[in-house]
Amino acid sequence: MSDQDKDPVVHSSLSKQLFIWSALLVLSMAWGLYDEVYGTRPWKGYEARFEKLYSKYLANARLGETAFEKQIRSSAEYQKMDREMQAAEKAAMPEASAIDKKVNEDLVPKILALNDPFQIVRAHIGSLTYEIEVSKSESSKDSLRKEIEELKNEVQKVSIPGEPKPREMKFSEMDDQLKKWKDEKAQLLQKRVEIMKQATELRAKRDQYLSDRLPEASAETIGLVQNSLANFDIKIRQIHVKDVDLVDRCESCHLGTREPVTLTAAHMGGEAVFASHPDKELLKIHDPELFGCTPCHGGNGVALSSVEKAHGYNKYWLWPLHHKENIEAGCQQCHVKEIVTEDANTLNAGREIFRLRGCMGCHRYEGFDRETDEITSVSQQIRSLEQQKAEWIRDAGFDEQKANDPRTKDADARKLNLEANDLKVRSSGLDAKMEQLDMRSHELIREVKKVGPSLKEARMKLHKEWIPVWLKDPHAWREGTKMPTFRLDDGEIRAIGAFIWQSGLTGELPQQKPGDAEKGKEAFETRGCMACHSMEEGSKKFGGTFAANLSREGEKANYDYIVRWVHNPRQRTAPYCTFEKRDLSKADYDKHNLPYVFDLEHSKCPNDGHELQVQQMTPMPSLRLTEDEARDIATYLMTRKRDNATYANADYLDDPSLKNKGLGLVRNYGCAGCHEISGLEEEQRIGTELTKEGSKPIERLDFALLGHKAEDEGWETHKGFFEHKLQDPAIYDTGKEKAKQDRLKMPNFNFSKTEIDAVDTFLEGSVDASVPQRYFYAPTDQRQDIIDGWWVVRKYNCMGCHRVHVAQTTTFDTIPRYQDPDWKDQKPPTLIGEGARVRPDWLMHFLNNPALSENDTNRDGVRQYLKVRMPTFSFSDGEIRKLVRFFEALSSQAQPFIAEELEPLTDQERVMARQLFSSEGAPCLKCHMTGDPKHDVRATAPNFTVAKERLKPGWTKRWMLDPAMMSPGTAMPSGLFRHEDNRWVFAGPTPPSFNGYPKDHADLLVRYMFQFTPEELGRLRSAGAGN
């Protein structure tokens, strides 16, 4: 072996290692390249796929659309419009092209030719003027001024196109000439617009005709999109809202979101990621360029590296993308002041459950406890105003004192006296303010309601034996009830029952004679009870969900009490003094020699003058039924029971030794959150505040022993926490060793999946907002009235009877009886457009007194022919104001209201209108009430003789012309008038007096109705109206 052989360079080759390493290098480079291009940029793949799928879809869509479009374009109507447009264009063309010629070939070149020399001189003058302004010495200023004069007088040679030799012009001449030409040009162009006007309008009409008939994008739009798609770039698409530092790159993958052509997953090969935003209207209100995506939807808008990260589903991201079933959670953070947000039905349902099922009895949520919050704020305001007033009066005193001081100069004394007077006047203004607040504070007591019934009345209302059965499992006794099931053992049930029974009031109830159950059933089903209450169980259940199901009422309640309750649910057994914090007895009144009378007119405490709670804290209104009818309904309710129901003896409820334990438990479980209970009227809430629960850091949500399980199963999120808790409120006690009183107290509401979704949506949306304050929906115009009004509308369940907004059904729409055409006309009226229909002063009066009568209250003030009846809610003035402003705002009515002046009727017109109203051909008074009892027996429509107090004339005319437009399905027929020679004329035969009458017939009838007098009513009746 030579030395050479021993040299490792010769005998051992490194090429193998080198190959491997270089191969690895190439591979890692390739990997690096891949990662750079696609691996960390999955959106690129999305964009490529989008382009492909979209182009394919557009090509197909275009074929379909063009065929349909062609059909429209070849229709006779379109052709006619097209011909008209072409003809107009052709007619206008000679003149228009003459103008074009004059402008383009004469004026424009001239203006251009003159403009240059003129601008040069003007600029020169400008610079010299500036020099004058900055120069310091007067002499140089003068010389500069001289220079400008010279410049102005200098003659310029300007060659104007079309003129043989150049003109010699001074600066002012050039200026004048230029202005003249420019004016001429402007005038000609204006004239051109006039000439072409007809053709332009016809073209717009023709194009509108086409777009009105194409439900989808036209071939033209598709073509435009196709062109832009030809230049499709693969790039990050982001919305950057600078002032709030928001960057959302969602559209890098969700490319179809704002496409003009509506895309669905089916269009895009099943890829839902490319679908268009499902609600274009919503995007118009919330322009993504201003709002971005994540403020509504959640997610991490900047992240692009994976779907999980972009959607914010990594563990510590506080605002993850809302799931589809909770998509409206995003509305809540900005629409936090509302109980009803338009188009957010799931969220609205969640809020409603939170309010109606009593969640707010235990959990504070800012804005939900409106009345109590307002009581606090009003009394604070009154205190601070009192202070302010005292200060001003004192200062005024000081001023006067000083003014009276002989050492003070006259001028100063006058000034001080004036100042003192100003202070006095201003403090008298505070008196007015305080007076308002004081009135408000009194009515607020009336506005506070409780979710559940008063337990002070339990002893008078309930069968003793029923109480323990109910407490054990309310849902087993009455399916779907608001009362949740608490985790109580038998001992606790006995104690709670005993406390409630023994703390109940023992008032006197008059003994009632029995009523007629059959009549009662009819009344219950037709008077309006069913707008809130339901009857029957299981699949046979029908009626409203706002209040209790009464299928088993006969098993639990005392007849005499129910008669009182049905007759007037607000009647209390004893008034409660908010100052002394106790129920008053007859003895309190006797002490002051006062009768034991307490109602809305007698609501002051005899002991200390403070406002009393004189009503039951229930939203249930009075239907103004007679005592007989109340007895009939109560009798019917007493028949509502299961045949085989038996209840064990419960005499232990009288055992005084149980009472104290019961009190402790009632406190512990927070019963007073929903019920009025003796001695616990001022109890505080026992639950966590939930206003910001949706963005509470995840580690502060107590999953207890289920943390690991939640993590493994992927529900260690806010959504997961809420859903599991709502499904089983005791779930986080699983496996815990706890003393009874330490266990989780939240009871089980037996929520359905839909209800859990709704509540979860509401809670997920209850966040410390990630957007700045200015995004919040806090309108300062009439829309604020709408927000406030909805709280009152929901509070009293107006929507059980009335349609308040479109896309809403009432309870009556679901009741079998009301499907019959005759019963359909017995439904309560729709309130869509109510603000445009009725006068606000009338509405105020009506809401306060729906009978529209002080004496005859056993009726409905407007529609006496309806079996159902607008009840008396005993609204406070504040609530009435909110409701009236709500309806006015919904109809965009100007405030305050000023009645429209109508042209006076001539005697001749009055005769004509009367003849028409009472003629055989006009059906008006066949249906409408006139106030004549004999006639009204058969009436099926409101009293037209009170129209002027109730209605607005503009609305009345629109209603007469096309009632179906405002209220589809109304009993009032359309087609009563036909349009003829620019006016409306009655479609039926008119009395001979109408011959030659040139005016609008609908206007005539409106003017007649709005200038109606009692004398005219007499004349109309004797003319045989309505027979």
Binding site: S28, A30, W31, N60, P821, D825, G921, A964, T970, G988
Partner: protein, 264 residues
């Protein structure tokens, strides 16, 4: 490690795929949405009376016929005058002399071949307001077929159908005004019709998407002709007594009888 394999995979893939650019797919014409609503007088199948099957039958009444109710029109003299000789009777239940029921609506509820569009007759069906009653009390039409609404009375009527799947309307028809042509676009059995001015007036319209229906008359019989062979659900509807179904199979050119019995 995972990334290395990914890298290898990429290299392999690069070497295999020469260059991108897949084949372009030829655009396919989309067949378009659902079947278009039949237009009156437009194209469509016609019952084949020569080769099709015929179902005839009677709607029998079992029990004592209820007494026909007298309608109180006294509030409206224009209506009372039309019934000067005998007071108007309610047509809710009319039992014929042969113990059959008038104004029962019989129709093929299901079983017809899917996808067939039936020709809509171009002749309208008359619904007359005469003597403040609807004449006839029950009518059947095809979806898209015209109803000619007539007012023969000297008083104003309004015609107000309350459909559930069709659009509701309510139009005034003054005396002496032109007849109204109205249609319903969708099948609906039955649509009640009322007049809000004269609350006793009631009529029913059966709207069917095919021509196989009949209304029983004074002899309580019905005939449905030209049915394709097949098995059908035949339904009878009565204003007061509700509906009944029968399943019936017919062959080509076959005639079958299928009676119904309504229990009073």
């Amino acid at each position: 490690m995972k990334k290395i394999w990914m890298g290898i995979g990429v290299v392999c893939a690069v070497s295999l795929v020469s260059c991108g650019g897949g084949g372009t797919e030829a655009p396919k014409a989309d067949a378009g949405g659902g079947a278009a609503a039949p237009a009156a007088g437009g194209a469509g199948a016609v019952p084949d009376e020569a080769n099709g099957a015929t179902i005839t039958g009677k709607v029998m009444f079992d029990g004592t016929a209820p007494k026909e109710k007298t309608i109180d029109m006294s509030a409206v003299p224009a209506c009372t005058r039309a019934h000067a000789n005998a007071p108007a009777k309610s047509e809710e239940v009319i039992v014929n002399d042969n113990k059959t029921v008038k104004y029962a609506f019989v129709w093929i509820k299901s079983g017809l071949p899917e996808g067939t569009t039936w020709k809509v007759p171009s002749t309208p069906v008359m619904l007359d307001q005469n003597g403040c009653m609807y004449k006839p009390h029950v009518i059947g039409i095809m979806a898209g077929q015209n109803i000619e609404v007539k007012n023969s009375d000297p008083t104003n009527h309004n015609i107000h159908p309350s459909p559930t799947v069709n659009q509701e309307w309510n139009e005034s028809q003054p005396p002496g005004s032109e007849d109204k042509m109205k249609t319903f676009a969708r099948q609906e059995v039955m649509i009640p019709v009322k007049c809000n001015v004269h609350n006793w007036m009631r009529s029913y319209i059966g709207v069917v998407s095919h021509p196989f229906f009949a209304v029983t008359g004074d002899d309580g019989s019905f005939t449905i002709k030209g049915l394709p062979p097949g098995t059908y659900t035949l339904e009878v509807w009565h204003e007061k007594y509700g509906t009944q179904d029968q399943t019936i199979t017919v062959g080509a050119k076959e005639s079958k009888t299928q009676d119904f019995t309504i229990k009073g």
